[in-house]
Amino acid sequence: MNLVRQIFAEATHRWVHSLLLFAALFIATALPVAFHTTGGAAKRETSRLMRDLGYNVRILPKDAELTSYWAQGFADGALPEAAVQRFTTADDLSYNHLLAMLAGRVEFRDVSVLLTGLTAEVAPQTKKKGSMIFEVEPGTVHLGHAISEGVGAGDQIELGGLQLKVAATLSEAGTIDDTRAWVHLSDAQQILGMPAVVNEIQALECYCADAGVDNLERLRAELETIVPEGQVLRMDAAAEVRERQRRLSEEYFELLLPWILAACAGVVALLTAINVRERRAEIGILRALGHGSGRIASLFLLKAACLGIDAAIAGFAAGSWLALEYGPAVFPVTAGKITVEWNLLTYAVIGLPLFAAFSALPSTLAAIMQDPAATLREEGP
């Protein structure tokens, strides 16, 4: 008799057993597919949220006095403006989102404001991402909340002897940024009389080190080779939170999935053991009908594998649906990035039957090793 037909007949006869087996395999596919499909969004979401905490590394001129830096809000001394470009060609760096700035104090409406000149962010070639901060056009200014009273977008103001158009007034940040007047770097250099230099580069420390590594030492070592004329300050609290959160996000998925798969494998193994137990007499009679171990093993392994194929397809569909349906609510910022990952279907259809057969293997071996004579004797005269 055709083996597949026999398996199908048995599976439909013991439909509750088959349904439970299918359910275990279905879960073993659906949850990993859902997690994996939303996993990219989760990482991006975490990354985005952590990025929103702001820059966590500052590169200052080597001779800058830190007490003075914190007191006046900008560093003494200068770095060449081109220094920031050196990061673009370096590989395997812990720095990203590099923002060159020139800051200094100027008077605006009889108040000392922190004039801050910016250029566009730069990034190592392999890590190019969207800018963390707005860009400022030459001839324009973005005014912090504390210094923008009575001024609106489109107004012309004079700052340090330069006429600038107000591009935007910023909402309250609750930090020193509320007293900043953001202008283009070239305008700041002109106002402060410091051509072709910057006095601070802000950056985001990217998470690429293993736990236990001294991050500040690593940052300093990298900076020494790229900008030896600079010194690095790490905003430890922000950087640590960012690092911990990203690690947590990754470890969550890494830890959870093996447990889900182990539980499903355990259920498949248990259900197959029950199936073997129920079919002891059948195994005995099939032996009496001349069938060998290969046929007996195939009845159990192929059943698990066939259900694995069905469960892979159904689980993939369900997992993708879960991710698409509920993922956007959980990860609203990166919702658009959640899409069906068709390559997972291939992995599932190939991997799940193997997973199912492997889980059923111990019970199948028990079925093969079962003494048919013992079973048939039990009901003899």
């Binding site: 037909r5 007499a281 059948e282 009679i285 009908l289 048939l376 004797r377 003899g380 005269p381």
Partner: protein, 219 residues
């Protein structure tokens, strides 16, 4: 046709040893219908399983035709069992999820698919069960189940049928039908060794053997 020499078997478990077969000899010729009697636990089923290649005895040889069953590999023995031996059990042992016809087709066979299907239909028709071919065992009466089981044993036209109390669960009429089938089979040149507690089959038997103290006796 079948020769068993010096068959010994001892069942062992953690607490005891039971030496149920003690140097037993048996020969069955083609066309012979032999009844095997003995009290419960005397070793009748053990002997049938040993003769059918299902249970390697602790000692002795079993030869069917020219083949010494237990000198064959397990695969070759399974093949020889499929070709040369048919089993009929008291509890029928039909595969519950297969139809009557599929139970016959579940026998290992070298026939082509068409030949197997034709053989199954022919056998079911010969026992008047062609209209029940697509029914599962649960839908059949005990007598019908045993007729299907006998058809299954006959499927490969074996040399020997080993029947373990095949009428034990049947009403007298059904038992007669089953005995008729086995008698017809021996008339065609097959041999039957039937373990039984009943005296009824003895009228069909060419001889009756008694299993006592692990050896065979003629009375």
């Amino acid at each position: 046709m079948i020769r068993a020499r010096s068959i010994e078997h001892t069942w062992r478990d953690a607490s005891a040893e039971v030496r149920c077969l003690r140097g037993l000899d048996l020969e069955l010729e083609a066309g012979e219908f032999c009844c095997l009697r003995g009290v419960s636990g005397s070793g009748k089923t053990t002997l049938l399983l040993a003769l059918g290649g299902m249970l390697r005895p602790s000692g002795g040889t079993v030869q069917i035709g020219s083949e010494d069953l237990y000198s064959l590999s397990s695969g070759a023995r399974a093949r020889a069992r499929a070709q040369q031996v048919g089993f009929v059990f008291q509890m029928f042992h039909l595969v519950p999820y297969l139809s009557a016809r599929d139970n016959l087709l579940a026998v290992r066979s070298d026939l082509s698919r068409q030949e197997r299907e034709a053989r199954a239909d022919e056998l079911l028709e010969s026992v008047g069960l062609q209209h029940r071919a697509d029914h599962r065992p649960a839908a059949l009466s005990a007598g019908e189940r045993q007729r299907v089981a006998v058809c299954r044993a006959l499927f490969n036209k074996p040399t020997l049928i080993l029947a373990d109390e095949p009428t034990g669960n049947l009403d007298p009429d059904s038992a007669e039908v089953v005995l008729d089938l086995l008698t017809q089979y021996t008339a065609g040149g097959g041999a039957v060794l039937m373990a039984t507690h009943s005296q009824t089959p003895e009228s069909r038997a060419s001889r009756t053997l008694w299993l006592r103290d692990g050896t065979l006796h003629t009375s």
